[in-house]
Symmetry: C2
Subunit: 363 residues, 2 copies
């Protein structure tokens, strides 16, 4: 099933290798390969293992100069489609491009895996192939959120790996999110907040009150700046870097934020089309509007990261185009470069040890 | 404690009377009175019972022509402030403007109460004075959300009355939200969706699966168009009118949406200030930008409605200015005009009867 693409030279040992599932996206492998070419163009150190239909991939790659000599194709016959249930994926499992792409990380051939496929299926395959880190009960999906923070982004997790989270899960999300902020955003001491409906300690569900104490107790050892409870309005704010929540609330918040941004963009287009004068204004304002669009472009923050596994998987939007894919690859590259998988594992292990060994933490 | 303001004539019997807590808002009674004057100006049928500091209110009202002969002042010495806990409110309870304003609805002197005060305190006072409707376990707060729907708004509930909701509560929220959509938005057969992390029946928490069946079974009798599960991205969409969720998720979604809208507005201002050319474009685009601003102005949708009590209470934003207060008064007037309180009570009673009497509904 693994075959060196004959139009490519072997991947150099010095390169950072990203494993890519070329088949799962809505726009097909052409958009994926175009995205890889973009990422490769501005990043000469990157190499790819690409899983999918070999003849098609060879044809697409041959057209992209930036990809020459930097791709290994692993042929697969089957594809996980968006409507597949995780159980169906499991049946056809090993023959799919998704399985092959995750397996390349498992085998140590690549540092990080990127896929545009179905989230549920990708999480199921990742759990089976990579397994959870020791001590992690529930892996999480972390997303980047455009914000007023210095780097322009905040991190929120879990945004949909699991609809439940107890106090210990939320503590682990805080540790994993902080580790992601250190390695993905370059923050030495990330500011972490726990999402609630108010900021007073008395607010919210019982597991939130308990998690609030657990995270506060662990924050010194873990070198995080724990802010306590934050609210929905704080997610895009400049006062927090990592927002911790359960996967149900996080998923609703993420989609609500995306939906609101898209509604406003639509209203904005309508406002500028309303009258002849407003159309002229729109022409003159084009540069400003372009600047705004780039700041809130969801493609620029494309890439949910699966945390809590033995290896890192980046989930790209199913509808990602070349720009979106390139952003996901850039993120994967950044995490691979910082040896994120191993640092995260060490962080989770040390947090678990601190909780179980030190009597004055963990309550 | 009740005194007819001597500079005003008595309230005409034909008028729709709104009871107003003049003291609880961040901007003080001047902003509230200015808002009342605006609402009174474009609505000659409205009259007010205003609770608060009599000398100050008399002075403020005297300056507003539109309010002459249309206000009864009920003097109170105390105010519920934003930092008050519900327990503190209860101690000073009966002497506050909030208590007086809600009591006017209880006594039948006014149709609807409007307050800018602390949400938790207002809900506590409303529960004590008005009591829950028979069969309602948890009242809910419903908000209006700018959307692609024909009328420009969707309704979401609960957005923070209670952090929990079981399947029966969610069924009642669906019924109450539909009743609000009929009377507040004028929709004969509202489209109702239950908020979840995916649209497949297998998704989500157990209480959501159960509520999904309960609402589907009750939808024929209740004359609602039940859509099943909807996602966060659907909240501002044109495909649903009423979004049902628990108060924790609803509160996070509401604040996330507001936070996202405010972030984009800020980015937009920054984009138009970035260069001299963009400043000129901003001047030319001013009309278009004003049009956009009006469409997403949170003050225009000011007014969370408390549902499930014997009487209707509209909670205005604490920071509401005259425009915001006027919007809350307009909403209160609309609901009073349609005899919403009694229609909602009848709807809840008939839904409860259908559920308990008819074997083929309610499972």
């Amino acid at each position: 099933m693994t075959s060196q693409n004959d139009i490519q030279t072997p991947l150099g040992a010095a390169r950072t290798i990203i494993s890519v599932d070329a088949m799962g996206g809505d726009l097909g492998p052409a958009a994926v390969v175009a995205g890889l070419a973009r990422a490769a163009h501005h990043n000469p150190d990157i190499g790819f293992i690409i899983s999918g239909d070999q003849p098609e991939l060879e044809r697409l790659i041959a057209k992209k100069k930036a990809l020459q000599g930097r791709c290994e194709i692993r042929h697969t016959d089957e594809v996980v489609v968006m409507t597949d249930k995780p159980s169906q994926v499991m049946r056809r499992g090993t023959k799919t491009s998704m399985w092959s792409a995750v397996s390349a990380v498992k085998a140590g051939d690549a540092e990080v895996c990127v896929s545009c496929g179905n989230t549920g299926a990708l999480m199921a395959v990742s759990m089976i192939r990579l397994r959870k880190l020791p001590g992690v009960k529930r892996p999480a999906i972390a997303c980047l959120w455009p914000s007023r923070s210095k780097g322009g982004f905040n991190i929120m997790l879990d945004v949909g790996a699991d609809i439940r989270a107890d106090d210990e899960d939320l503590l682990q999300y805080a540790m994993m999110g902080a580790s992601y902020a250190r390695n993905g955003l370059g923050l030495a001491k990330p500011r972490v907040g726990l999402l609630n409906v108010g900021t007073e300690d008395s607010k919210g569900r019982p597991e939130l009150k308990s998690a609030n104490e657990l995270i506060a107790n662990a924050s010194g050892e873990a070198n995080i700046d724990y802010l306590g409870f934050v609210e929905g309005g704080d997610i895009p704010s400049g006062k927090v870097d990592v927002i911790v929540t359960d996967g149900f609330t996080g998923n609703v918040a993420l989609k609500t934020g995306e939906g609101t941004a898209s509604l406003i963009s639509e209203f904005m287009r309508a406002a500028f089309k309303a009258t002849p004068l407003s159309r002229i204004a729109a022409l003159l304002a084009m540069t400003s509007l372009g600047r705004l669009k780039r700041r809130i472009d969801p493609r620029r923050v494309n890439g949910g990261v699966f945390l809590g596994l033995n290896g890192t998987v980046v989930k790209s939007h199913g509808s990602a185009d070349a720009t979106g894919i390139a952003a996901a690859i850039d993120l994967a590259y950044k995490l691979a470069q910082s040896d994120f998988s191993h640092k995260l594992a060490a962080r989770v292990a040390s947090a678990a040890a601190a909780r179980h060994d030190t009597p004055d933490t963990g309550e």
